[in-house]
């Protein structure tokens, strides 16, 4: 019981402690703190990483987007320029325009094969120029000039080589009308020639310069070439695609796609009116900007510029690695910090837990060390108070237990004793009950038999004519049976007095037991002729203090039994002194009493049951009364018997 109470108290204290210190169910406090710190630091690291990533991303995208816008603008300007120049400075147009200049007869552009590609006179285009000046210029690659005749007109021709770098790609021939020239400049021929030569050279150089510029512009503004060059020259542009307003690709860094219909989402979006569309292709690592191509506010198509995002991804990767490093450092720092934070909390709790376990194991003198004034210190102090209470309670319980055990032992002993007494009493009651039943049966027989005689004979006396002899005999029978009935009633009354604890009064006085014996033996000698009663009385017997009548009753009962149970033979009665007592003994030669019966002959209602005793009347009360009377005189009873030999019954009363 005590261990059960202790276990309950400890369990309760554990429950209380757990409410104070978040007693771990699956995870220790240390681990929880470490986890929390790590989670916090990793969270901060990841947050900064995420912010950095977002910032970098936005910055890169903004840069690329700005770049794309500028590029788009440049493309548009280039395309516009190309358009203007194409319209205005087409070589033929230029030639024709130059032809209108005053003093100029005609202008010819000749390729490296002497074939006229542009001419003031359009019909000459395609013809082969064959003048000496041309041939000379082509052959030497120099500027040559001289007088010539063109279509019957005197002219001064200046032939200027057209070069791409050092390569001669053609010739420009400008012919001046000499006639007009001479009219405008009325000088001598030499001077004139020098003038013409100078002017024509200037003109030719200027024209060739213009033509060369025009050619460059032509090349540059060729959209495909522009696209190619942009793609080649830019380190960050990986793709450019230009589509018309029908989504047909008119220029693309991938030439195979030119002429095809673009089905990109971005192009579709732009065709559908979007101002800009951006998309990132992680697999190809390309960031694509799609924008409209508008010339003079008119929608002409779309431009798609793909930027190489390798660097972008590399940058992100670097940020990511940095983020991982930050997280790892966060975890490491979290663990280190957690130990620093957790140890001051966990160690006192661990010590306290150890103390509690020792207490729970039965060491009630276990106390916790209180070395702080914080919550754990309060907890340790509370634990100590609880341990004190527990120790006190246990002492009380032990004390109580000992007292209780002693009480239980005493009660158990008392109960066992009572139980034994009850068993004895029960056995006695059962015997008594059996004896009573027997008594009723016997009493019924014993009462009915004399009553039968009394009633039967008295009825005959009343109803029959009887002889005098018969009448005398019948009345004698009635008288005998009435006396017998009276004795039975006396015995029953004595028993009733003894049983009900009523006064069974003794009137004691100094008496001589020999007198009492002789009085009774004489009476029996008169009424009983079957047996001889012999007396042997010691001389000078001392007196005893006794109730004469009751002692007489004792002698009568014993003598009565001796006579009843002795078929024939003497009955020897003695009176003598022994051990300061006066003894009366009556010895018969009757049927005797068995050892088993000897144990019970003083029991109330007990009768010896043998065939030989069946006929013998009696109530089983005589010896019970005898014993009671002798004991009331502080006397003793002694009985010796042998079956079929006889019984000696003696009682002694203290002498005076």
């Amino acid at each position: 019981m005590i261990s059960a109470m202790l276990t309950t108290l400890v369990e309760r204290s554990k429950a209380e402690l757990s409410s104070y210190m978040l007693y771990p169910k699956h995870m220790s406090i240390r681990v929880k703190i470490i986890a929390a710190m790590c989670a916090l630091l990793v969270f901060i690291g990841l947050l900064s990483f995420w912010a950095s990533y977002m910032h970098e991303r936005k910055s890169l995208l903004t840069n690329m987007q700005d770049n794309a816008r500028i590029l788009n603008r440049a493309l548009i300007i280039s395309i516009i320029n190309q358009k203007i120049i194409t319209e205005k400075v087409s070589l033929q147009a230029l030639v024709e325009e130059l032809s209108l200049t005053e003093g100029i007869f005609g202008v010819w552009v000749i390729d490296a094969d002497s074939r006229i590609t542009s001419a003031t006179f359009r019909e000459q285009v395609g013809e082969v120029a064959s003048s000496n000046l041309i041939l000379n210029a082509l052959q030497n690659g120099y500027y040559v000039s001289g007088f010539d005749t063109k279509m019957g007109e005197q002219v001064y021709s200046a032939v200027y080589p057209l070069k791409n770098g050092d390569e001669l790609i053609g010739l420009l021939e400008v012919a001046f009308e000499l006639r007009e020239y001479l009219r405008a400049h009325p000088k001598n021929q030499i001077q004139l020639a020098a003038q013409i030569k100078r002017d024509s050279r200037i003109m030719a150089e200027s024209l060739s310069y213009s033509i060369e510029n025009m050619r460059d512009v032509n090349e540059l503004i060729h959209i495909q070439r522009l696209v190619d060059r942009l793609t080649e020259e830019s380190e960050i542009i990986s793709r450019i695609m230009i589509v018309d307003d029908n989504s047909r690709i008119i220029a693309c860094s991938n030439l195979d796609k030119v002429g095809m219909i673009a089905d990109d989402k971005g192009v579709k979006a732009i065709i559908n009116g979007a101002e800009i569309y951006t998309r990132l292709s992680p697999r190809q690592k390309i960031y694509t900007f799609d924008m409209p191509l508008k010339i003079d506010g008119e929608f002409k198509g779309a431009v798609s510029i793909g930027y190489d995002a390798t660097e972008y991804y590399a940058h992100l990767s670097e940020i990511f690695r940095f983020g991982l490093l930050i997280s790892a450092m966060g975890i490491l720092m979290g663990i280190l910090l957690s130990f620093q934070v957790a140890n001051p909390i966990v160690r006192p709790i661990q010590r306290l837990t150890g103390d509690i376990k020792k207490l729970a194991a039965g060491n009630l003198s276990q106390r916790a060390v209180v070395n702080s004034k914080d919550e754990v210190g309060d907890l340790a102090a509370a634990f100590n108070r609880m341990a004190e209470d527990l120790a006190l309670s246990k002492d009380k319980i032990d004390q109580y237990s000992k007292t209780l055990e002693e009480k239980v032992r005493q009660r158990t002993q008392a109960l066992e004793k009572t139980n034994q007494e009850l068993v004895v009493t029960q056995n006695e009651l059962m015997k008594s009950n059996i004896a009573k039943t027997d008594f009723l049966s016997v009493a019924s027989h014993e009462l009915r038999t004399p009553l039968t005689t009394v009633m039967g004979y008295s009825e005959l006396l009343l109803t029959r004519d009887l002889t005098e002899r018969q009448k005398t005999d019948f009345l004698g029978f009635i008288n005998e049976e009435a006396i017998h009935l009276s004795n039975i009633v006396d015995d029953l009354l004595d028993i009733s007095r003894i049983e009900s604890q009523k006064s069974f009064e003794f009137v004691k006085k100094p008496v001589d037991l020999a007198d009492i014996l002789l009085k009774n033996s004489e009476f029996y000698s008169r009424v009983n002729t079957q047996h001889r009663i012999v007396t042997d009385i010691e001389e000078n017997l001392p007196l005893v203090n006794a109730d004469e009548e009751r002692i007489g009753q004792v002698v009568k009962n014993i003598l009565d039994n001796a006579i009843k149970y002795t078929l024939d033979g003497d009955i020897l009665c003695k009176v003598f002194t022994r051990d300061d007592m006066v003894w009366v003994s009556l010895q018969d030669q009757g049927i005797g009493i068995s050892k088993q019966d000897l144990l019970h002959i003083f029991d109330k209602f007990y009768r010896v049951r043998r065939k030989k005793t069946a006929k013998i009347s009696g109530t089983g009360l005589g010896l019970y009364i005898v014993k009671y009377i002798i004991e009331a005189h502080d006397g003793k009873i002694d009985i010796k018997s042998k079956l079929n030999k006889g019984t000696t019954f003696a009682f002694g009363i203290p002498r005076l």
Partner: protein, 121 residues
């Protein structure tokens, strides 16, 4: 002449019954114990046996049982005559084969009437 056998260990009771029945023409026989009663019953084959229960030696129940078991004596009308008045005693007597039961103390006139009735049946 009808014969009635009285088996009872009490002499006063035997004498009372004899005196009661002496006015009729009945031959009265007496036995003072069960053994003697059995012997006389087998010898005489009386018409009626008045049988006491509580007797030394063989008791009345046993005498009744033995007589009813014996073909020679089984037809004898046996009346148990006893001071035992309890119901279980009556049942025990009847189960032993007794034809009637008469409880002590009894009226001699009633006994006489019962004997007359049995003999004249």
């Amino acid at each position: 002449m009808k014969k009635v056998l009285i088996i009872d260990d009490e002499e006063k009771v035997r004498m009372l019954i004899e005196a009661t029945l002496s006015i009729g023409e009945i031959e009265i026989l007496q036995a003072s114990s069960g053994e003697e009663g059995l012997k006389k019953a087998r010898e005489v084959i009386p018409d009626i046996i008045l049988l006491d229960v509580m007797m030394p030696g063989i008791d009345g129940f046993e005498v009744c049982r033995l007589l009813k078991k014996d073909p020679a004596t089984k037809d004898i009308h046996i009346v148990m005559l006893t001071a035992r008045g309890q119901r279980e005693d009556k049942e025990r007597g009847l189960s032993a084969g007794a034809n009637g039961y008469f409880v002590k103390p009894f009226s001699p006139i009633n006994l006489m009437n019962m004997i007359d009735e049995i003999l004249n049946r």
